[in-house]
Amino acid sequence: MSLMRTKWHAALLLGSLLIGASPALAEAVFHRGNSGEPQTLDSAHVSVDIEAFVLKDLFEGLTIYSADGKIVPGAAESWTVSEDGTVYTFKLRENAKWSDGSPVTAEDFVFSAQRVEDPKTAAEYANILYPIKNAEKVNKGEVPVDQLGVKAVDAKTVEYTLERPTPYFPQLMAHMTALPVNKANVEKFGKDYVKPGNMVSNGAFKLEAHIPNDSLTVAKNENYWDAANVKLDKVIFYPSEDDAANIRRFEAKELDTVYHFSSSEIKRLREQYKDQVRVTPALSTYYYSFDTRQEPYSDVRVRQALSMAIDREFLANEIYNGAQLPVYNLVPEGMEGYGKGPVPEWASMSQIDREDKALELMKEAGYGEGGKPLNIEIRYNTNTDHERVATAVADMWKNTFGAKVSLQNSDVSAHYAYLTEGGKFNVARAGWSADYGDPENFLSLMISTNKSFNYGHYNNPEYDALLKQSYDETDPAKRMELMKKAEEMINRDQPIASLMNYANLWLVSDRIKGWEDNAVNEHLSKYLSVAE
């Protein structure tokens, strides 16, 4: 009997040796597809989500997003807000440490914020933190950096003074631009602090290796305050912008996740991979902008008519295979305190009624069949999905108004350079994703003074006044009301035709546990684990 047992043990041991390593000993590695090479790992210069995914695993802000996308304490264990809503005081965790073992201090946060706003740093996203007192002035070089409204009360307490009440400030503190850097580390290495071997970070992981365009490896940070709950040993980010290739690597089981892929693949992937396909509506809007500076788009009736004639359900269901939702207004659903924004009254009509109405409006304006000819050019940045949308919209305008519609694509850089620099156009594709969950982030796009993002140069003094009022309003409920009023104006004037609510598309392997879909598209690796 005892001999038998020994043999059995031996067999087990041998077996595990043959397999290579027993599951308990194996490293838990998450192969994370990241759809593009990060342009930088410096939080002062990051600008896109794929960089945020890497950076938020490495660094931890005062607040972070939970697995289901809620704001929870991060490096700070708690915070308080002053009566008037303009002073936020964050208490750092006692056990928050950098990967070199040194404590995370309030001074690090002050240094990081000053570094981002310092015009010499030239941080691309410095404007995100403009709600901090004097931030804009500092960034313009009008006042010295030490005038920035951030100070260390003591080693573990950091205080932010704001320009005006900003209810979404805790969300801003979770933004990648607000991530802390280690003061001593940055001062020692300068801009090279981001290199493997140099970097000191305070997140759940630390940088281990980085081969541009091949892989970026982060390993568990043993000094992280919550290290006991971090289940992964390693996360390897694979940057590749070719989504078809990423899908193939997923199918060959080389990648555990794929982020972003062409919607034309959704149907097949759903059939084959079932709920490994994750489609989550995001806080972002796909819209067409009309150039309100010139005829005929300066005529509100023409804009309304064109917007009404677009069958958004066809776009969302047929072109995007249900991966996007049809929308009729700019601010996406799911903003705290805002709920579902107002929609134009014609949104509730059937598509046929809309088309009749559209035709009427267009006739009134004197365009289309029997009137002045309607020649429309749709500009978009090169992308299969955008081309398909433009093709479908062109077909709709052709059928409804007998318009002559042509398409013009250019690469991303040329497209946006043209629009932001005030180039003339007829209709141009654009999109906006929330930086933080507040309607202001969307509505400010249409302010007349916002020369770079208000591509169509919508100019409505009433609208501008309403938004200005909202900035000064301290009562949250009233503030939301003002913004709703403003959005109703956009609905009426249609300087843009909001088409769809983007969804984030992910392929997440069954192997990965702990993944939760959320609208903010935040997926920290520290919540995840792998099943063998």
């Binding site: 342009q39 541009p212 080389e254 040329a414 946006y416």
Partner: protein, 307 residues
């Protein structure tokens, strides 16, 4: 000969200078800049960024700054991959591209010359036709189709080979990218070889050699091959330069961290300094390989003289 080489190397300096100058100004005439992203920057931050990178200076000033820095071997920081200098990026990526390119070149030249010779010896026989049909398919199927099809078969259906990445650089990882990169070129070499071999085999001295009863293999290798290699050699120059400096398509499809994708990514991102770096790299390779080819001409065919 040494004088010839020296003179050519010396003439590379003005060549590269002209390339740099034209490219520099051409890039600046193109719409968009390195900081016009899908997510546009706010005016103030844009101004800060332009100032930091010296893009707010007059163009001629930027040009002379670049020129003097480049002459000292400083190609500047990448505007888009901000953590790295251009030299670092290219230095890291080039070895991958060169290794991949060398394998592909080897496959293409050895395979192509071999198949082309066989086809020529069996002119108009079924072997000839089969080989040429395969070669034609090789030229016509674009690598952005070849790559995915090969991966689908060998990586996903059969699970024999990885679907992408450089991995540890071993054989398994290299097979598919090398084939995707090399097969189209193999086909060109095979067709070129076949054509000129047929011509060479019909020349008088080969006929004479055959008439003297020399065994065919000896005739082919020693005599015909020599004359037939000229067009092959000429194509080798640009082909080698193209293969060794990486292919954006193949590197993207197989997720290989080579320098090829920087040509395309750099241009699309308007990463001015990175593009300049790649342009100089290409110029150096092209000049070098054309020089080598010209030297080889002289060795292979005594009729070609360098004066």
């Amino acid at each position: 000969m040494i004088q010839f080489v020296l003179r050519r190397l010396l003439s590379a300096v003005p060549t590269i200078f002209v390339v740099v100058t034209i490219s520099f100004f051409m890039m600046r005439f193109a719409p968009g800049g390195p900081f016009n992203l899908e997510r546009p920057l706010a005016p103030q931050t844009m101004a800060n960024v332009m100032k930091t990178y010296g893009l707010d200076q007059p163009l001629w000033k930027q040009y002379f700054t670049y020129l003097s820095n480049a002459a000292m071997g400083d190609f500047g920081p990448s505007f888009v991959y901000k953590d790295n200098t251009v030299a670092e990026l290219i230095g890291k990526a080039l070895p991958y591209s060169i290794e991949l390119g060398l394998w592909a070149l080897l496959v293409a030249v050895v395979g192509g010359v071999l198949l082309g010779t066989i086809a020529a010896l069996r002119q108009n026989g079924w072997i000839d036709y089969t080989l040429m049909v395969i070669a034609t398919i090789g030229v016509t199927v674009p690598n952005f189709v070849m790559g995915p099809v090969l991966t689908l078969i060998f990586a996903i259906m059969l699970s024999w080979l990885p679907a992408g990445s450089w991995g540890d650089g071993s054989f398994r990882f290299l097979v598919l990218p090398v084939l995707s990169l090399g097969l189209p070129q193999l086909a060109v070499f095979a067709r070129l070889t076949r054509g000129s071999m047929i011509e060479a085999l019909h020349t008088d001295h080969i006929r004479t050699a055959r008439a003297y009863g020399l065994p065919p293999r000896v005739v082919v290798i020693t005599h015909a091959m020599r004359g037939a290699m000229l067009p092959v050699l000429t194509y080798l120059g640009p082909c080698a330069a193209a293969l060794l400096t990486g292919s954006a398509v193949v590197e993207t499809i197989f997720a290989i961290p080579g320098v090829g994708r920087y040509f395309v990514l750099g241009s699309l991102n308007r990463d001015y300094t990175l593009v300049m770096g790649t342009v100089i790299l290409i110029a150096v390779f092209v000049i070098l390989f054309n020089l080598i080819v010209d030297i080889l001409y002289g060795l292979l065919d005594p009729r070609v003289r360098h004066d």
